[in-house]
Point group: C2
Chain length 400, copies 2
């Protein structure tokens, strides 16, 4: 891609045809912003989505998967302050009512909208019903805020934050003619993930739902699906991609794929950098596997290993823990042919430690671990973080 | 079993026909005891062993698996202060030399012994060669200490400690006629494990290697294999069972199985209670699965979930994290039929939270999580611990 610009100061409202808003509806006890709306003004309403692979799916995931089957969305309503997961039939009814309320408010404002054109995303503590009085009042307010004419992408990105310390958004401008924008919260991946990851992507490209679906699945498979902070998998993970067609330009599938990939990759890096308790941004690359799938399995096992992650927190080049983790893969490896490197320095090769292996400097914030299996040409990289005191603190000190 | 006594003050030398010793050979920089010997005086020398399932196997594991094929052991030499894993052909030669040295010292003392009758176990940092001058000198010393006539089970149990804070041993006296004893170090399981787990079990029952093998595999499958501290898997895990026949009594397979199981179960509880960073002893029981294997998979997923483990560290009955973990199982479940209980109090049932679910008291040191899937009759329990600051500290502050 030439003449392409990534801008982190912009998000879902960078592409033409989109408005957004974020407000404090009182769902969070803290009083922080907790309700966001992304609205597609058209002229097109094509949409695609990918969702958590967890079998325990939150009510909003069940709802949004259902409505996405039509390949068409007018709006996405997102709340923080409660996941609305494991809340039974009443919880699903709450999600339905929220979509109905958004549709009604948008219709009243002049855009005839049905509830089935409204996706719902929720994030927060699992197991509690949402405060529907506050949420429904908030829906009216957030539609008014959006209708008020402000662009609102920043506010929306802030309203979906939970343990995030910074809002995450980015926009890609393609040769000045069409744009993809996005916002994200959380610090994980689709499956598995740490806490809920919610992502809304928008574009003014003139493309149909099928093209969006292809681009989204290709991009998430190598970005959010390969961000693994702690191996845990949320009940609520959702990534949505909406197209307004406002640019009147139809990129090729390749161009669309590349643009969506670039935006997902950048949001992914932002999620990693703001993961709970992160002090090190770690990438694990496994190469020389029998297939890319095998490489991904191996990289994930290393990325999830608590002993590897605590060693990296301590800036300790304890490469033996990497080998021990690799030894747990469910396919046959030959330990004597493995090469392990830290930040480009080989520490173990041909079955034996390399000189200076204990002295590799891992004091920086970025650590790259590479494992060459010498079995084939399969390769994959997983992004993760270290396991720090702050992670333990953040996840033990209060319910989230 | 009636008239059976478990005594924690005794270990591998409780059964007749066994001597042991533990000394400081200077392998550990700290100067703490680091070399242990368990010696079988006979008249029988039957033995069985189970080893790590990690594909990256330490030299002593490769050696001991090999010699165990004969079903016969005179002695086990165990060192802490170095795992001798990922050390190449030289490391294997070191293990071989150690077994040769033990055989020579025992032969010199008057017990004709071959190196193939000596199992070797090592634990400590992966990737460094052992200080063989100190180790070989230590072999002479430890054989002399054993030959000196002290029973030595306590000393042996202390010499294999690494991050353990207390030695672990137990003996089961069967109706006063035969005995099973054991010692253990580490805080993990066979596969996977935290750090290395080494266990030596002894008995004066008159049983052959086949009976020992059966009893050992049955016992480890439901004890050490179901202790999962952090999902990591050591390169060195070893459990050995040696029989001297000194009691001249041959128990039935059922009696032997029950006795070995009781000793393994007790050592397992001791390992759990002394796991790295433990503040809570946690058991996860999954019932109502399609099979026991499925139940074990589900229990392990919950036991390894960092978000569950940090919540329990905080005494937080955050049952949503348990459900989210269960939702990741690789077989089909019905979330609406699951019941989750904490310490016997149902917190989630029939798809909805139970009243008072947020108020269950988890402030005690023992926490029992039960998950009823209502799919079948499969059941399994996994022992684990919480994920605490101390765990992070212990595993990041220095190489181990």
């Amino acid at each position: 891609m030439t003449d392409v610009r990534l801008v982190r100061e912009q998000g879902v409202t960078a592409p033409g045809g989109f408005r957004a808003a974020g407000i404090a509806a009182g769902i969070k006890v803290s009083g922080n912003p907790d309700l966001a709306l992304v609205f597609n003004e058209g002229p097109d309403y094509a949409a695609a989505g990918v969702f958590t692979s967890n079998q325990v799916k939150a009510a909003p995931v069940q709802w949004s998967r259902q409505v996405l089957k039509g390949g068409r969305l007018r709006a996405v309503i997102l709340n923080s302050g409660g996941a609305n997961a494991c809340t039974g039939p009443g919880g699903f009814q709450d999600t339905h009512s929220t979509a109905e309320a958004v549709a009604a408010a948008l219709s009243e404002w002049g855009t005839e909208t049905g509830a089935v054109e409204v996706a719902v995303c929720s994030t927060g503590l699992i197991g509690d019903r949402l405060p529907m009085d506050k949420l429904l009042a908030g829906v009216t307010d957030v539609v008014q805020a959006m209708a008020g004419g402000l662009v609102g992408g920043d506010e929306a990105a802030r309203a979906i934050m939970t343990t995030d310390t910074v809002p995450k958004q980015v926009a890609l401008h393609h040769k000045g003619d069409w744009t993809v924008g996005g916002m994200a919260k959380g610090a994980g991946m689709l499956a598995p993930s740490l806490a809920t990851m919610l992502v809304v992507l928008t574009t003014d490209a003139k493309v149909d739902a099928q093209a969006l679906d292809v681009a989204l699945r290709r991009a998430t498979a190598v970005t959010f699906d390969r961000l693994d902070i702690d191996g845990s998998c949320s009940t609520n993970d959702t990534v949505l991609l909406l197209a307004s067609g406002a640019s009147e330009i139809t990129p090729s599938q390749d161009e669309l794929d590349a643009a969506v990939l670039a935006v997902c990759d950048d949001l992914c890096a932002q999620l990693q950098a703001d993961a709970e308790g992160v002090t090190k941004r770690v990438s694990i690359t496994v190469s020389g596997a029998g297939s890319d799938d095998d490489a991904l399995i191996a990289a994930r096992i290393v990325a999830r290993d608590s002993l590897v992650k605590t060693a990296l927190f301590g800036s300790d080049p304890n490469w033996g823990r990497v080998l021990a983790a690799v030894g747990m893969v469910p396919f046959t490896i030959d330990p004597d042919r493995i090469t392990v490197s830290f930040n480009g320095s080989p520490v173990f090769q041909d079955g034996t430690p390399m000189p200076g292996a204990r002295d590799v400097d891992l004091s920086g914030a970025d650590i790259h671990v590479t494992v060459e299996l010498n079995l084939g040409s399969g390769q994959a990289t997983v992004r993760t973080t270290d396991l720090s005191h702050a992670y333990v603190e953040e996840n033990s000190a209060y319910s989230s």
